[in-house]
Each structure stands twice: as structure tokens, then as C-alpha cells.
Symmetry: C2
Subunit: 360 residues, 2 copies
């Protein structure tokens, strides 16, 4: 690592970059616990998708005398973001820094409070893919912010911080297969990306329209109005347990069937909300019914979906291409075929640190 947190203010500004991959839940997170920022009401189990990534370049600098305390700036895929969206996250970063680097003179100044961040983040996958880009983005952001200020940190700390930005970002910190338990402050790795080389996820984007309702608003309405929400929360741990077992046994059929139960139960809680929340499009259902037909023909293909109309298919290396071809006419951008991917990486190509790449 070229960055030494003990260098003092004269070493600013510092720039660092990070790359992270989306986390696709096969046992779904849907609903937050109250009383903490982005802790989950349900345990989730996810796969990190190697084929696509968010790349972040972060510059950290010391504020000058008289600066606004918070002049953080984020440009996402070329578009300046509302700083309020990022305020809780950067405040959490400043708090972590302060906790880890109390000011040397012991005064009331706090090390983190004088820092601000300038961030540029880009995804190499279309927003239409419906893959929580914020998950990969905040994982990369948390890794780069901590590394730039405190040097290399344990993945658990990066995961905990990423979670403040976006719940599922805490899983994107790790490669391979991850779990994030209900109420847990951070995710953990279950198995590294080498665990199941034959596994493939095929992402099928059927719409590029913006979501009618954000996941955050949809989760809140579901919790507040769906008569099925409590049963969903009560049922999720058993499904998550079955999903972990399916991954432990590399049992594709069991993984696929469990993933179907999980996403359909998640969507059922939304259909049952008042007013109902409906992300599915006719094309989504055409793929869902088409996959049913392929399964009847013996193909190992099972779908999952997230808060949006896109369909993601869990299959193996031998069938991924066929799935992509089968539904080509329904897609608004090309299918993405992904292997299981690595965790967040920090630094340039010549100065790269891998966090969370090991079997926990």
C-alpha cells in the first residue's frame, strides 16, 4: 500500500480507485429493520457477478478554513448526484476515520471531520440490467474511501460502511457467495469465487424505463401495508438456510428452486401491498413462462428477479448461451452471461489490493 494514514494533512489530496461487482441475491433481502441504517429484516444469500463492475475513482482532501463542512461531490456515469443521497454515507466515513485516527494534539478537532470526497463512478453495465448498481458502487466507494484515509482495512469494516450507502452493497465487498443476516451490520463470505466454476447467471434486460417506484419506497410501502409482510420476514430464514445448503452442495436444481420461491415470495408481498406494487412487465412473464417450458424439456434454468422487470437466470456453463439466445427478441440490451466474480479490488493495475477474496 502506498497510502499511509499517518502521513498527516500535508499528504492530501490523495486519489485512489476501486472496482466492485454487483451482488445478485438468490435468497432475497426485502425490508429493513427499524432503528439502524440499512439493516435487513430478512437474511439474504447472494452471488457476486464477475462479468460486470462499477469502477470508482475517489479523491480525498482536507477542507480549507471556511469551507462548507460537506462539499462532497459524486458523479455517477457522468451525472452529478444529489449530495443529500450520499451525506449519511460520507458522514459515516468521516466518523470511522475519526474513531481510528484521533487527532494527535488531543484537541476537540476530529481527524475525519475536515475531510471531503470527490468521486467519479462508472458502471460497465446498462442501468437497464436492473442490477443494483448502487450495491457495486457503494462497495467500491467504501473500499476506496477507507483505503485512501486509513490504509488497508478488513473487509468486514468495508462491508459495514458500504451498507450505510446501500443495504446490499455490504455483500458486493466480497467475491463468491455471500450471506447477510437479518440485523447484521455487515455481510460475510460463504465461499470464494472459485467454489462453483460451472455456475452461470444470465441477465436478461427487458426494459430500460426508470423504475416506477424506488426499492426504498417499495420496501416501506410493503412493510406498512402488505398483510403478508410479517409472514415473509418469518419465512425468509428457512429459505435462506436452504439456499446456503444448495450452494454448499453445489446443487443447481435446489438452488434454482429455492431462488424461485424467494423472489416469488418477495414479489407476493409487494402485489399484496396497498396500492399494489407491480414491477413485472409482460416480457418478464413471457420469460418466466418460457423458462417453465425449458425446464419441462429438462434444461437446468431457474429465474430470479429484483425490484424491476428484468429477469436473471441461474444455470450452468453448458446452457447459458442457449438461454441468452432463446429470449433475444424480448431484450432491450444484450443478455449478460456472468460467472461468479471476485470481491472489491482497490488501487491501480500496478497497485492492487484485493479485499475479501478469501474463504471466510
Amino acid at each position: 500500500m502506498s497510502h499511509d494514514p499517518g502521513q498527516g494533512p500535508e499528504s492530501f489530496p490523495r486519489t485512489i480507485s476501486a472496482t466492485a461487482h454487483p451482488s445478485l441475491a438468490v435468497a432475497k433481502y426485502w425490508g429493513k429493520q427499524t432503528g439502524a441504517i440499512n439493516t435487513a429484516a430478512t437474511p439474504s444469500v447472494a452471488i457476486t457477478l464477475g462479468a460486470i463492475a462499477a469502477r470508482t475513482t475517489l479523491t480525498v482532501d482536507c477542507a480549507s478554513e471556511g469551507d462548507q463542512p460537506c462539499r462532497d461531490q459524486v458523479v455517477l456515469n457522468g451525472v452529478s448526484q444529489d449530495p443529500r443521497r450520499f451525506r449519511p454515507f460520507f458522514d459515516a466515513v468521516r466518523e470511522v476515520i475519526t474513531l481510528n485516527c484521533p487527532h494527535q494534539d488531543g484537541g476537540s478537532d476530529q481527524a475525519g471531520e475536515c475531510l471531503f470526497f470527490t468521486v467519479r463512478s462508472d458502471n460497465d453495465f446498462p442501468t437497464a440490467a436492473g442490477l443494483a448498481s448502487s450495491a457495486a458502487g457503494f462497495a467500491a466507494l467504501a473500499a476506496s474511501a477507507l483505503t485512501a484515509t486509513l490504509g488497508e482495512r478488513p473487509p468486514e469494516e468495508i462491508s459495514r460502511l458500504a451498507r450505510i450507502g446501500s443495504g446490499s452493497a455490504c455483500r458486493s465487498v466480497y467475491g463468491g457467495f455471500t450471506r447477510w443476516d437479518a440485523g447484521a451490520p455487515a455481510a460475510e463470505q460463504l465461499y470464494p469465487e472459485t467454489w462453483w466454476p460451472d455456475l452461470r447467471v444470465v441477465v436478461l434486460p427487458v426494459s430500460s424505463a426508470e423504475k416506477p417506484l424506488s426499492s426504498r419506497d417499495a420496501m416501506n410501502r410493503t412493510r406498512d401495508t402488505s398483510p403478508f409482510y410479517d409472514a415473509w420476514v418469518a419465512d425468509a430464514p428457512s429459505l435462506a438456510g436452504e439456499t446456503r445448503e444448495a450452494i454448499a452442495q453445489r446443487d443447481l436444481e435446489r438452488l434454482g428452486q429455492t431462488a424461485r420461491l424467494s423472489y416469488l415470495r418477495m414479489f407476493s408481498t409487494m402485489f399484496a401491498a396497498a396500492p399494489p406494487i407491480m414491477y413485472w412487465l409482460p416480457q418478464s412473464l413471457e420469460i418466466i413462462r418460457g423458462l417453465e417450458e425449458l425446464r419441462r424439456m429438462g434444461l437446468p434454468v431457474w429465474e430470479t428477479m429484483d425490484a424491476g422487470p428484468q429477469v436473471k437466470v441461474i444455470t450452468d456453463a453448458a446452457h447459458a448461451r442457449q438461454v441468452a439466445e432463446e429470449f433475444r427478441d424480448l431484450l432491450v440490451s444484450p443478455a449478460i452471461i456472468s460467472e461468479v466474480g471476485p470481491g472489491v479490488t482497490v488501487g491501480t493495475a500496478s497497485d492492487r489490493t484485493v479485499s475479501g477474496g478469501d474463504h471466510a
Copy 2:
């Protein structure tokens, strides 16, 4: 009435016909209570659809010495039916007759036991319409069987008997607006067919394929495997109450919104079952999303669905034709536009008895 139950066996065979209309639930019945034949786990509220009907001609005769006790025959839309499907129903008819007409000589022979039935029933609507034809059919069958043997009977008794054949048939006995409460042996009329002259239901058939799973099997799987079933049963009474209020106030928007909540919650219990039960087709969802768009434009259109892919739209007289036109390209048979219809009628055109047509 030309049929006097006191005429004795020499008056057999007797033939009588009846006509009944489908019952479309706006607050859904989904799930049976255990311990009794076809009593509902949830209260339902329904509209009798006047535009379409099942017509039944029933002949009742005395069995000769040595006949099989049960040689009942049913031909439905020209197709001979499996007598086992009808056995519990005809046995219930015989039991009612026996209870009402104890044999005159006081011996062990029982009046109903020697009777058997030959039935021909035809629907004037395509099976593709996805309108429980069995509901209208069993309402007509119960009315004709009781009238042929016991003379005119109260609609409550016809409703109770129709229920043995098919749960929702107990509502089809009455015209207008009906309720069938959880655990109740019969339905009741809420308002007669004259209550809301402006109301229309547009039936949009999108598939003529047979259902992949019968309602009966789907209800059982839902009850046994859906983690949301108990919450559905617990929530349904409040929705049914709101639906009754909407009808009492002839409030179309409230009726429409409540009907949407009810069918979506019903389907959610099925999506959540293991394995998931999915009756929707892409075309169903195309109509559901299309109606959303029409509502945004200010049109009073709300959908409901039953165990199948067809969509039924609740609207008013001024917009029914437009709804039928809007989705014409998606339909496998013409849209059916229906007013609120009457209860079951018994007899020929020259000899007609109306049962259950009054405001209860």
C-alpha cells in the same frame, strides 16, 4: 308450479329446466374450511353476471327394481361427465328429498334413495372466458333438482345444496350482489340486480388452453405450502367488508380498488406456494398494465382475475365498449360485456319461477 311433490312415484319421470348466471367475486373466495364440504375459509362478495348463463334440463326418475342405486348421468356442453364428480352432489339432493318427504308407509325405504337424475347442461359462454361455469351449472342443477322433486323451495336451501357441487355456486343462485361468509352453509343476497344499473363487467378471454391446475388442487396446495395463507385468511374479512360498503354506496372507484387488492392478494398466496402456482400469462399482464395506463388517463377501469389467465374489468356503462376495443388484439374470443344479472330461474318460458330475485 306444475310439480307437486305429493304426487307419488306414478308421476315420474319429471323434467324441469333452470337457468343460472356466473358469479364473479370482487372479494375473493380462496381456500376451504376443513371438516365440511365446500365451506369457505374467506368471506366473498360477488356480482351475478347477466350476459351469460348455464342452462340445465334435468329429468328425475324412480329407479327400477335391481337398478344400480346411482345411475345419474350428466352431459355438460355435449360431453358426458365422470359420475364421481357429481356423486356427492346427487347424494346430497337425495338426502334433502328424504328429509323432506319421509316415505308414507313409515318403512325403512327412503323417498330420495330411489331417485336418479339425468342432466344436460350447456353454457352460452366459452370455457375460455374463465368464468366458473361450474358455479352457474350447479346453481341451475340444484334449483331444478329440488323443484322437480319437492316443488318450489327457498333460495337459501338451493344455495346450500348448490354449494355441495361447487363452492361459489351458492352465490349464483341469487341475482344482483351476493355475500358468502366464511364457514357459512349458503350465500345471501345483498342487493338485487336493479341496485346498480350503471355497473358493467367486461370479460377479456386471453387463452383457451385448459388450466394447468384445478382450482381445487391450487387451493389445497396454497393452504398446505404458502407461508402467506394464514395472513390471507386473516385479512380477507376486512377487504370483504370494504367491498360491501363500496357496493352499498355504489362507489365504483372504491369497488375497483378493493377488488384489485383482493385478487392480487389471492394470487400472491399462490405465487408464494411451493412449487409456485402461476395462472397469469403475458397477455394477462399486458391488460393489467394497460388498465393502469387507462386509469392514469382518468378512466374508471379496475381488473379482477380468477384461477386462470383471463381478466375481468369492472367499469361503467359509458366505458365498457372502450375497454373491449382497447384489448381486442389480445383476445382469443370476443370480450363479453355484462350487466348485473338475475338469480336462477326454473321452468320453461311458459312456466317460470324466479328464486332469489328479491332484496334480502
